[in-house]
Amino acid sequence: MNRIVDLIPYARFLGVEVERTEGALECILPFRDELVGNASLPAVHGGVLGAFLELTALLHLMDDSGNERVPKPITFSIDYLRSAGPATTRARAEIFKLGRRVANVRVVAWQDDRRRPVVAGNGKFLLS
């Protein structure tokens, strides 16, 4: 399962891991000091969280299609809901429309409580 992570250098750079939980693909971002955006809180960098969501969407699409070609992002939009503290962040994606050329994907990430999401994303990808 972590093989698709190995295909993407940036995923290794962030230290992302992948698990299959309750039949769903779950991406895990263990906390590291290098990921901090605001040193005084401390909080994980917003850009890192956005990247983590985009990565989760991408890995979900690749897992779903069984294709090792990386889909191309067209647009990705991120809602920051809470500050993400120094803890592990987890994310799950859902494809809500899989067209012939474009896939629409939603992603939600949380830390200790799934019912309290820290960040949510919505992306469109061009399938090659």
Binding site: L7, I8, P9, Y10, A11, R12, F13, D33, E34, L35, V36, G37, N38, A39, S40, L41, A43, H45, G46, G47, V48, G50, A51, F52, L53, E54, L55, L58, R69, V70, K72, P73, I74, T75, F76, S77, I78, D79, Y80, S83
Partner: protein, 172 residues
């Protein structure tokens, strides 16, 4: 304009000098920006330009050697925060509410990437930002973005106050 109207005072931009090129505040306060090697290229009234050096570790699509979209999100988020910091009159905590990035084309491999963000509207609570990112020329961007930022997000206040205090100590 009526003859007795008071002249509008010039706008003050508190942070431009604090976070400009060669000033490390914006990067040293942000470990992840330092980790990526992001640097401030230019600041001015309500805008900021940052650069991200190319690294193999940032590749998202090994077949095309294109930098992962999310790394560009980080660069744009950082430049946007800088633009807001250069737009407010007094330093306050800045938190991203939302950010949308459009990928206009693939970024060229092996080139340093730049992003310029402009804070085009500032209200009491919210700052509105647009940004573009390019590889060779600012006229030919590979990504464009829109973001909104909350001002005075209170939990971050203490840290920012400390940062300003440090800065003041250095400047005085």
């Amino acid at each position: 304009m009526p003859i007795d109207a008071a002249p509008t005072p010039p706008r003050r931009y508190a942070l431009q000098s604090l976070f400009g090129p060669g000033q490390e505040g914006m990067v040293s306060h942000t470990p992840h920006a330092a980790y990526l090697g992001i640097r401030v290229v230019e600041t001015g009234p309500a805008f900021g330009v940052c650069a991200l050096p190319f690294r193999e570790e940032l590749i998202g699509d090994p077949r095309r050697r294109v930098i992962f979209g999310g790394a560009i999100t980080t660069l744009i988020d950082h430049a946007s925060g800088l633009a807001v910091a250069c737009a407010v009159e007094k330093l306050t905590a800045i938190a991203t509410i939302d950010l949308r990035v459009d990928y206009l084309r693939a970024a060229e491999p092996d080139l340093e990437l730049c992003a310029r963000a402009d804070c085009y509207r500032l209200t009491r609570n919210v700052a509105f930002v647009r940004a573009v990112a390019w590889d060779r020329s600012a006229d030919d961007p590979f990504a464009s973005a829109l973001g909104t930022f909350m001002l005075g997000a209170n939990r971050g206040e203490a840290g920012v106050a400390a940062l300003v205090r440090d800065k003041r100590d250095v400047q005085e």
